[in-house]
């Protein structure tokens, strides 16, 4: 499957600098259509109001954590099929397994390079 580099990617993280880091990495591998949210609550609001093709979300956030956000996406009929890449700090067994069981598309461990990020995205899109 050819990846549409223009797909809209939603980056969710409470730390603004972190969102910028991910945005920069995405740009490096050709993705320019990016929108941001600072937590799961805001992200869900965005998902309801505009078309998003891909979600990259942090785990640790106030208000609504990444795992809660993932679960909310997966139980929503309109959103349940969205690719969801979870960003975690360490490959902590409990966290990863929890996310996998909740239906995450894949996970990526901080810090990562643009290449690794690109690989993960391609791997997810390939399967669709």
């Amino acid at each position: 499957m050819v990846i549409d580099k223009n797909m809209k990617i939603l980056v969710v993280d409470d730390f603004a600098t972190m969102r910028k880091v991910i945005r920069n990495l995405l740009k490096q591998v050709g993705y320019n259509n990016i929108t941001e949210a600072e937590d799961g609550v805001v992200a869900l609001r965005i998902l309801k109001s505009q078309k998003v093709d891909f979600i990259i979300s942090d785990w640790n956030m106030p208000n609504m954590s990444g795992i809660e956000f993932l679960k909310a996406v997966r139980v929503d009929n309109e959103l349940s099929g969205l690719p969801f890449l979870m960003v975690t700090a360490e490959a902590l067994k409990e966290n990863v397994v929890q996310a996998v069981k909740a239906g995450v598309s894949n996970y990526i461990v901080k810090p990562f390079t643009a290449e690794v990020l690109n690989e993960k995205i391609e791997k997810i899109i390939d399967k669709i």
Binding site: M18, N60, A91, K93, V97, G103
Partner: protein, 742 residues
């Protein structure tokens, strides 16, 4: 049938497996399998089909490892999964047909165990993984004790700038939230609010190659993670280390900022290695390892060598094969004499001996102190035994008096075990002042004095909240605005002073500010408005100040974020009184106010006056007694409407008949035949009528137990020297009771 649903579940997993795309299990598929296996495990458990359950659990474990990319040979993992599904189908068929399964699953379980690694091996590996970075970085930082982060060209400048701004904001947030955590240590939201910023800082620092920042944020984060998972409890050393860690991070980020702005930077004076060690020791629940000065440093201090000598010596010591010790290297270079080295070595040893510390469970300590209390009582019972008193054996008398000496020594030592310096509390207050003044937009400095004054650890904890409240008051109400200060000719920056010292068997803690002082008129007006006093009452300055301790009193014109949340000084007073303490207020308009808290040194023992009423003995705390007297008949008055009173040295004081309150038969009912003890309460003095004054004695306070905890007029019991139990009178409570009777 019994196994229908179970077999359906197995078939579901098998058919999902058939439809897999290629010989690879991707993340979403793994998630699906894991959920199905979870369901199957539960069903198997309910049906007590142990083998099926074990196979399913093994597969679940295998999948987790595949997802975590912990299995090197992916194809082997996939093959094992396939085999496991076939095995489960086999078990399912056998269950359906025969109601049981006798086949062997051990060889399969073993193959999975080999693939995933033995359980034990895994857990030790995880531990090793967790510990490794700390060890490594500690070593690195020992070589470069101040390994500072520097700006290099490869870093994205605008990202770095964002990180600095956001990072500093986050650290400020951490500091504020730590104070919240301290007050509400059980609240998981408070822990999370501190965990998260460290986590975020770590994440971004990782991308920006700021390894030291990342490393410190990481260990602080793991520390908080342990708190989150209840592996560690919130303690003052924990709070302190997090504050120190946050300070270190802040200093590093500020340095980064200065570098970016091209400002000259000084090397950081943060001992990161020591910080790491402390975090580790808090994590492991062991006391701070004693900081032992290095031999080289001691030699420099002694003036035996110069810094350069030391550096050269260190270098040559490391280069020689096998590596030499620093003392040896310096000696072979002729820089020091063997004597200087041995002296320094001896001093180093003494340092260790001086400060060796062990950690003891506070419960054990409390038990010990209680038991010593019992011993003191028993000892005094022996001493007063009539047989001992009348004995003429010199040896026995000598031994008894020796026992007395040793017991009181033991009592003193054991009481001192629980004593801690007030330093930490003061440090936390200082930080509180900083934060509060920032929030209030005032400039306030802190001075502390007598930080080494020691007090009972249990009291320190009880005292913490009242102190926080009073410090809040000092900053919010006490310190005046910059404009007002300048107008009054005071320095723009306000000062809060915390002072601790001993005075006559008491410990005194003073909180003073150089603010506007208490406004007597405002207090009085408010108290009259609230009906707490009459305008006509003749009140001294101190009486007026004391009005602020009445429930429902608050002079704050506006409720601010800092104080005025409905918790008034009355709560502070209650807390202080619970510790048998007193508050004194001193205030001068425009010069400031001083709140002095007076506490007895320890909560376990009081000096009491033993009095007799009828056949009962009571103990009156000495601190409450003003004087004893036998009144003359003329000094007794019974004023209509105001009750009985005694004229004591010109002052008419109400009379409280103890026998009436406790409903006992006294020896005397006429005050002029009995004795009055003038005791002081918060709202003035009263006379307690007793039959006889027996003795003054140090008694160990015993709680009366849950049932009588709230009995008015009595604060506890004590076993007296003669072995009888006496009740300790609570003056405030007595006054209340007498008010009701009268």
């Amino acid at each position: 049938m019994k196994y229908d649903s179970l077999i359906k579940s197995i078939d579901g997993i098998a058919s999902d497996f058939l439809f897999l795309d290629g010989r690879e299990i991707d993340v979403p598929a793994a998630g699906e399998f894991l959920n199905r296996l979870d369901g199957l495990i539960k069903e198997a458990e309910a049906l007590e089909t142990d083998r099926l359950k074990r196979v399913a659990s093994g597969l679940s474990n295998l999948l987790e490892k595949i997802v975590l990319e912990r299995i090197e040979d992916e194809e082997a993992g996939f093959a094992a999964f396939e085999k496991g599904i076939t095995l489960m189908q086999e078990i399912g068929d056998s269950l359906k047909n025969t109601g049981g399964y006798e086949g062997d699953i051990e060889s399969f379980m073993e193959s999975i165990a080999v693939l995933t690694g033995e359980q034990r091996a895994i857990s030790s590996e995880v531990i090793a993984e967790e510990q490794l970075p700390v060890e490594e970085s500690a070593e690195i930082s020992q070589q470069e004790p101040q390994a500072p982060e520097t700006v290099d060209e490869t870093q994205d400048e605008s990202l770095l700038r964002d990180f600095i701004i956001e990072g500093l904001e986050y650290i400020d947030e951490i500091e504020v939230n730590l104070l919240n955590l301290e007050q509400d240590p059980e609240n998981p939201d408070c822990v999370n609010a501190i965990f998260r910023p460290f986590h975020s800082i770590k994440g971004v620092a990782g991308f920006l190659n700021l390894e030291t920042i990342q490393g410190i944020a990481h260990i602080l984060e793991s520390l908080l993670d342990s708190v989150r998972n209840n592996r560690l409890s919130v303690s003052s050393p924990l709070i302190d280390i997090i504050l120190d860690g946050a300070d270190a991070l802040k200093a590093m980020i500020v340095k980064l900022k200065n570098e970016m702005e091209g400002k000259p930077t000084e090397p950081l004076e943060i001992d990161l290695a020591a910080l790491r060690r402390r975090i580790k020791s808090v994590e492991q629940g062991t006391p701070d390892t004693v900081e032992v000065k290095k031999l080289g440093e001691m030699l420099v201090e002694d003036g035996a060598i110069t810094e350069e000598n030391l550096d050269q010596g260190l270098e040559s010591a490391q280069q020689s094969i096998p590596p030499k010790k620093i003392g040896e290297a310096l000696m072979s270079e002729g820089k020091v004499t063997p004597k200087q080295v041995s002296q320094a070595l001896r001093k180093q040893k003494e340092q260790v001996a001086d400060t060796a510390v062990i950690r003891v469970d506070i419960k054990k300590l409390d038990d010990l102190i209680d038991t010593v209390g019992e011993l003191v009582i028993t000892q005094s019972m022996i001493k007063q035994n009539s047989f001992i008193l009348s004995n003429s054996d010199i040896r026995l008398s000598r031994d008894v008096s020796r026992l007395t000496t040793i017991t009181s020594e033991l009592q003193r030592t054991s009481a001192s075990l629980r004593m801690v310096p007030i330093k930490q509390t003061f440090q936390r207050m200082s930080r509180l002042v900083r934060d509060l003044s920032r929030d209030a937009g005032k400039q306030v400095g802190v001075v502390t004095e007598g930080e080494d004054t020691e007090m009972d650890r249990n009291m320190v904890e009880e005292m913490y909240n009242p102190l926080v409240h009073m410090v809040r008051n000092a900053v919010d109400h006490g310190i005046d605005s910059s404009e007002a200060r300048i107008k009054a000719g005071k320095p723009e920056k306000g000062m809060v002073k915390l002072r601790a010292f001993h005075r006559g068997g008491n410990i005194v803690i003073e909180i003073s500010d150089d603010g506007r002082g208490l406004d007597k008129d405002v207090i009085l007006k408010k108290a009259v408005e609230k009906g707490l006093v009459n305008r006509s009452d003749d009140l001294s300055d101190h009486d007026i100040y004391k009005l602020i301790f009445l429930p429902g009193f608050s002079t704050a014109a506006k409720v601010t974020d800092i104080s005025g949340r409905g918790v008034g000084m009355d709560v502070v007073k209650q807390a202080v009184e619970k510790l048998r303490g007193k508050i004194e207020i001193d205030s001068v308009v425009d010069k400031g106010s001083t709140f002095a808290l007076n506490f007895p040194l320890t909560m376990a023992i009081i000096q009491g006056l033993i009095v007799k009423v009828g056949s009962e003995k009571y103990i009156i705390p000495i601190t409450a007694i003003r004087q004893l007297s036998r009144p003359v008949k003329e000094s007794y008055n019974n004023i209509v409407g105001r009750g009985e009173a005694i004229n004591v040295m010109g002052k008419i004081l109400p009379l409280v008949r103890l026998y009436k309150i406790f409903d006992i038969k006294p020896d005397h009912t006429n005050p002029w035949e009995a004795i009055v003890v003038v005791v002081e309460g918060e709202h003035g003095a009263k006379c307690l009528l007793v039959d006889e004054v027996l003795d003054e004695e140090e008694v160990v306070i015993k709680s009366l137990g849950e049932g009588l905890k709230n009995a008015k007029g009595i604060s506890g019991g004590a076993i007296m020297g003669d072995g009888n139990v006496g009740l300790i009178l609570d003056v405030e409570g007595l006054f209340e009771l007498s008010g009701r009777l009268g």
